[in-house]
Every structure is written in structure tokens, then in C-alpha cells.
Symmetry: C2
Subunit: 426 residues, 2 copies
């Protein structure tokens, strides 16, 4: 993409009314815009990152048999009454239509998917089945100060699994755990992400959260470094030992919950009457699991974890572009430029344009800073703030060596790469 | 995809409480599920079609310079007050948060995009700019009976253009018109879709709708067959002659509005103070255009236009799969099957599986009806109802000719294609 055409621009000033680092930085770099507290617009760069995270999640959900659907945000009151959650569910946005019909804005979708599956599943032969969506969710939060980490409107992947018995659920639950860590790995979060034991509800002793260490975290977890698992603060009083090794040595850390998985049992199949005929010809409740992960929250967490004083450092697979290509003309001496003749300047333009076209043709996504009348310093600062994994500089200095200068965003080392070697380099 | 794994199934009965043909058929074929009036879930097949329509729209919007963003559904009251539309906008869903803050669910996004662009555009040098999103929209409709044609929750592509003057807007407006017809062409609707003159509002004499002829249409249009344009019923009294040729001969038809484009002028830039510095150094209002198209409504319209008594006939580019592959075993005589030995049966399985794998490997999307214990008749009926452009049958009869039988969904003609020719055929 040509940066001269990108309608957003980076801003130097910290945004007012925004105290979270992820939102401050994503706003300054032109990834998101704040509409009102907890509600954001995804700008071109931000939408690209968000979509890449969604695509990774989609691939890993498909790999474990997930079938993608899209449920609505408007959900009718009666289904919430069926499960007794209309009044009790935390932070449900409610509204009424002109026909006085009441709705909740979907904050979770057990109430929609359970009656849906009831229409199609009748026999043990049709189980298990795994269904997910990536959808916009809404939560009527009193305070929304953590940027994309806790919004009033945010994206959520929710997978629901349907089984004939607990044993089958248990097996799939472990498969889902592994898929979650694959996703965090591809998003650059696995080093800092811990499987965390949390309250389980009526059906099982624990649920599990995936907690990523960062000072921006709203949660406190207790890590057992021997087992590389953690316990959430809410259960540390009842669960004083590591559920894996029985040890009592914990490291206390702040963390963000980037995913959570639950065994639901028959909590939802029962009120909706979701049953199946078992091998013996008898009716039985379907056993369910649910598996949540918020792409927008994952995006915010990546920013909290991967940055330095100059800006974001995107992991390669989710970066908006693989490389920032900077065309640097010597702005400081127009007289010298004229003396040297226009030929050289034209050369920089031509070579930069060709590198851009060639890289794009080879499937390397490039943000090409082709802007005129912008100083080299500003271009370098913008590239660092936006945080693509590679920076490629084309200038008189690099062309004198028949090269471009390449620098990784996460390293201070620059190297010269010959013009004819660039395509192979990437 | 293996049809045995698809959790949805076709249903024979017409759904209760659903009078529109598109919803009845899409529900019966397992593309959508009705959650409540005007609110639907997109099931795996339906989501695939919807995503393909969105991808076509995206490609054509990008081709005319559109930059994609994603604005929120929760929009704060104050921006609607700025434009005096909080009370006057038709069918706005309103709700309040726990902090008593009021919101409207986005039914259109001029109120969000105008202040957004104000943060980034200051000079004539930065204009024009074209920004779009594909997003879920909400309308507080009193009645919602037309299936996906008029929902309470539905998908919408909205493009907004920002210009330094009307001349520049006029130019882009014509470019957008052409892009719209490209989209309808790729979706199989262009033959029946007419550029239709409608009320223009304060800024220009007309706005334009794109109306597709179908008896399911809620609109009435008057077509000038000489010019292949139409006039909407709401202005036919003021506009008694064709705006193009001046003729008075019209054909009256029912139609669905599958798109609409408006010249907004300074209607929104004025209240938000969206101005730019012109070439002469003076401040001037930005001139805007807006361009709407609903992917879910386009999907419904395609179903209304492309079907026969047996089901849907999807145009190739948006079909959930290019082909239905039917493995047909002779179910009627298990004794004969045993007499013939299992070898032949195995052969059908093996060859069908191989065709499926080979086609997928060559990028041909296939819905493989690998289900056992389903009659040939049911498989044929399902394939017709679901409506993929091609049907491929593998049976003892076809294998006797070393072939499969191929039939286009939109033709009654069957042909035998040799096994080794299948890949080349597609």
C-alpha cells in the first residue's frame, strides 16, 4: 500500500481520555479510533491486523473440526429467560423494538446455539459436532478504560462443542487447549501465556483461562514455574497447591485473560431440551463445552507485550505489512540536489517504485512510504511506531552501494542488501 | 466439504412463520436459521455464500480506491444530535448503558465517519478519499416479513467519498455506478438490475437506486426500455418523463432495491465542521457522497431470481461450492450388492474419494455427498435444493463407462465425463 494514499496519519500527541497503553499506541499509530469509551473504529491498518488474527483463529478452529457460522447480535428475551439469565447475566445490554419486543445484545451465544443444534442433531451418530463463530459482542460495562482489552463492543470467537458424554468432551477439551496454544504461538504470545485454573461452575471443578503476562493485566495469577501452569486469584484460597504437581511455590503476576474454556455439561442442553438418542435407543442430554477467545483483545495484548519506546513490534504473521519501504531523499539541501541534477532523484523514485512493485508481485506485503515533503526522521519514526517487522530504506547512500538498507524492527542491526537480492531476502 | 460432517441438514417442510420465498428456501436448504422475526443465523453454507458476496464487493471497492475500515454498532447519542437525526431517523434502535449513557445501534454511519475523517483530512492535497466498511446494521422495523430482504439485523457495505468540490464528486459517482454494475454482474443479477432514479434530498435532484426485478420486490419501478433505466414510484408523479431520453413509455415492475447511492453534499460535513484548506488557502466544506449495498439482501435477491421448483441455482462465483459430488450406491438390492461382491462397492467409495481429493487439490470447491444409508433420490433432491452449479454423480452405471455423470444445475442435459478428464473439465 502507498502510504501517501493511506487516509490515516500517525499523531505525536497522546490521545486525551485514554489511559491504556494499547489504545494510546494503536490510536497514535493510526490502527484504531476511539468513538466513545470502550467503542472503537478499526482503521485500515488495524483492520488488517485484526483480520489476520481472525484468520489464524479460523485456521486452527477448522483444523480441529470447527464449522463456522455467524449468529446475530440481536437475541430475543425468551431464550435468556429459558436459561434464567435475562436478569442474572452480568452486563447484558437490553433494548426494545417498536413492537415492544425485548432483545439483549449478544454477550455470549449459548442461548442461540443450543436451540439451533436441537434442530439438526437427534442421534448419537451425529455427535460430536463443533461449531464456532467470530462475531461482535457487547457488554454493558460500567467502566471501560483498558482500550481494546475490555471494550463495550468487541470481537469474540466462540466455539461450542456437543458430545454424547463427558469422556468425549474431556478428549476434545484437551484438543482445544492445544489449538489455543497454537494460536498464541502464531500471534507471538505463547512465551508469556499460561494455562490458568479458574472457577469451574456446577459441572466441573475448574474452567481454564489463558493468561498472558503484562503489567496492563486486570487479573492476578499465581504461576507454578515447575509446571508452567497458573491459578487465578479467585480460586487461590480454595486451591492452595498446584493442581498438577501439588507444589505450593507460586509466582504472583499481573495478566490479561486472552481466552477461556469451560465444560458446560448439560447446563444449556437441559433447559432447551437438547437431547439425543443413545446407542441403546434412550434419550439423553447432550454434553457441551465452550471455548472463547477475543481477537480484538488478543490484538491489544500483543501491543502491550511487543513494543518499545518507539512503537509497536508486530510478530510477523499478524503484522499489517511485512515491511515498511522508505524512500528517503536528501531533503536538507535542495541546492545540492539541484546541483547533482534531477537524474539521481529520479533514480531513487524509480528504484523504490520497482522494489515496491517487485515485492508485491512476489506476495510480500509492503507499506511503501512514498510521501514527498516528509523528512527522513519523520519517516523513520512512523515506521517504528507502526511496527512492521522489516524496514527497507532506499536512499542515495544505499544506492551508492547498489543496495537497500534492511533492519528488523526487533533488532538494532542494519544490513545492506544488494538490489538484485531483495526478492530472495524476503 | 464432506456432507456427512456438515451439521445442518435439508428439511422438506416449509418453515412456519416464514412467508418469503428466499427465507423459506434458504432455511430448508440449511443456509440460514431464523432466530426471531428479521434476525437470522448464517449457517456454514450460508456464511460461505455471504462471504463470497462480501469478497466480490470488497474487490470492486478496492478497485475504485476504497480503503476498508470497520466502524462500531454502538454509536453515542451526541453524534446523532449533532445532525438532528436522533429523533428523526427512521427505525433507529436505541438503548442505554448502566452509566445512563445512550446509544443508537448503527443503521448508517455518516455520524461516525464524518468526525473520523475530520481528524485526518485538512488540505485539498489530501482529497479525494474513499472509505468503506462491511458491517452489521440494525433497523427497528415494525414488520419484518421479507426474509433477508428486510431484516432487523443485516449486513451492509457502506462507502463514503470525500471531495473538494461537486465536480470531483460527480466524477467519482459515475465510477461508483460502474463498480456497482460489475458487482451485480459477478453476482448474476445484472440482467435484471436497473439504475433507478429516486428522490435526491436537499443537495441533488436525484439519488440512484439499483433495483432488481422480482415479484418478491417491495418497490415498484417504471422502466424505460429504450434507455434501460427506471424511475422509482415515489418520484414518478414529479418525474413523468425518462430523465435520459425524455420518453413517456414505461413498464411497471416489482423490484428489490439492491443498492443505493446519494450525493450528500455538505449535509454532514457542515454540522461536524469537516472543512479543508483549498488551493487559495481558504476553508471550505468537504463534499461527500455515500454508496450503500447490503450483501445479505443481495444474497436473498439472488435466491428470488435464480431458482426453480427444485431449489436454488447459484451463479458460479458465489455458489457455496462449485460442485456437488454424489456417491450413489445401489441401495435397493443389498442381496444383489452382496452377490456382486463388496469389491465393486469399494470401488465406488475409492473412486469417489479420489475425485473429491483431486478436485480439492486443484482448487475446485466440492460438497461431497459421502453419506451412507441415504437414498439416491434424497441425494439428488438435496443437491438440487442446495444449488451448486455442477452435479457430479459416481455410480455403478457411470463407472461401467469409466466415467462420472456431470450435469449443470441450470440445464437438464447430462453428460458423461471420463474419469481421467474430470480435472480438465473443471
Amino acid at each position: 500500500m502507498l502510504q501517501s494514499k493511506l487516509f490515516t496519519k500517525t499523531v505525536k500527541e497522546l490521545p486525551k481520555d485514554e489511559i491504556s497503553f494499547n489504545a494510546q499506541t494503536l490510536i497514535r499509530a493510526g490502527f484504531i479510533d476511539k468513538v466513545t469509551a470502550g467503542v472503537y473504529t478499526f482503521l485500515p491498518l488495524g483492520l488488517k491486523v485484526h483480520n489476520k488474527i481472525c484468520d489464524i483463529i479460523r485456521e486452527e478452529m477448522n483444523a480441529i473440526g470447527g464449522q463456522e457460522i455467524l449468529m446475530p447480535a440481536l437475541t430475543p428475551k425468551n431464550v435468556w429467560q429459558t436459561t434464567d439469565r435475562w436478569d442474572s447475566f452480568d452486563a447484558l445490554f437490553k433494548l426494545a423494538g417498536v413492537d415492544k419486543k425485548e432483545y439483549a445484545l449478544g454477550a455470549t451465544h449459548e442461548e442461540i446455539i443450543t436451540p439451533l443444534v436441537k434442530k439438526y442433531i437427534f442421534s448419537y451418530k451425529e455427535l460430536p459436532v463443533y461449531i464456532y463463530q467470530i462475531q461482535t459482542k457487547f457488554r454493558n460495562e460500567l467502566r471501560a478504560k483498558a482500550g481494546l482489552i475490555r471494550g463495550r463492543e468487541f470481537s469474540m470467537k466462540d466455539l461450542y462443542s456437543f458430545h454424547k458424554d463427558e469422556e468425549d468432551l474431556d478428549k476434545y477439551y484437551e484438543i482445544a487447549k492445544k489449538a489455543y496454544f497454537k494460536i498464541y504461538d502464531r500471534c507471538g504470545l505463547s512465551d508469556k501465556t499460561y494455562l490458568t485454573f479458574a472457577t469451574g461452575g456446577a459441572f466441573s471443578k475448574y474452567s481454564h483461562e489463558f493468561q498472558t503476562l503484562t503489567s496492563a493485566g486486570e487479573d492476578t495469577i499465581y504461576i507454578c514455574d515447575d509446571c508452567k501452569i497458573a491459578i487465578n486469584e479467585e480460586i487461590i484460597k480454595e486451591q492452595e497447591t498446584c493442581p498438577k504437581c501439588g507444589g505450593k511455590k507460586f509466582r504472583k503476576e499481573k495478566a490479561v485473560e486472552v481466552g477461556n474454556i469451560f465444560k458446560l455439561g448439560a447446563r444449556f442442553s437441559k433447559p432447551f431440551g437438547l437431547q439425543f438418542i443413545n446407542e441403546g435407543g434412550k434419550k439423553q442430554d447432550v454434553i457441551m463445552g465452550c471455548y472463547g477467545m477475543g481477537p480484538s483483545r488478543v490484538m491489544a495484548t500483543i501491543v502491550e507485550v511487543h513494543h518499545d519506546g518507539r512503537g509497536i513490534i508486530w510478530p510477523e504473521e499478524i503484522a499489517p505489512f511485512v515491511a515498511s519501504l522508505l524512500k528517503i531523499k536528501n531533503q536538507k539541501s535542495p541546492a545540492a540536489r539541484r546541483a547533482a541534477g534531477q537524474a539521481k532523484i529520479k533514480n531513487i523514485d524509480e528504484i523504490s517504485n520497482k522494489i515496491y512493485t517487485d515485492l508485491q508481485a512476489h506476495g510480500v506485503e509492503v507499506l511503501y512510504d512514498d510521501r514527498e515533503n516528509i523528512s527522513a526522521g519523520e519517516k523513520f519514526a512512523d515506521a517504528d511506531l507502526i511496527g512492521c517487522p522489516y524496514r527497507i530504506v532506499v536512499s542515495e547512500k544505499t544506492l551508492a552501494k547498489d543496495s537497500v538498507e534492511v533492519k528488523r524492527r526487533d533488532s538494532e542491526k542494519c544490513e545492506f542488501v544488494k538490489l538484485k537480492e531483495i526478492i530472495n531476502y524476503f
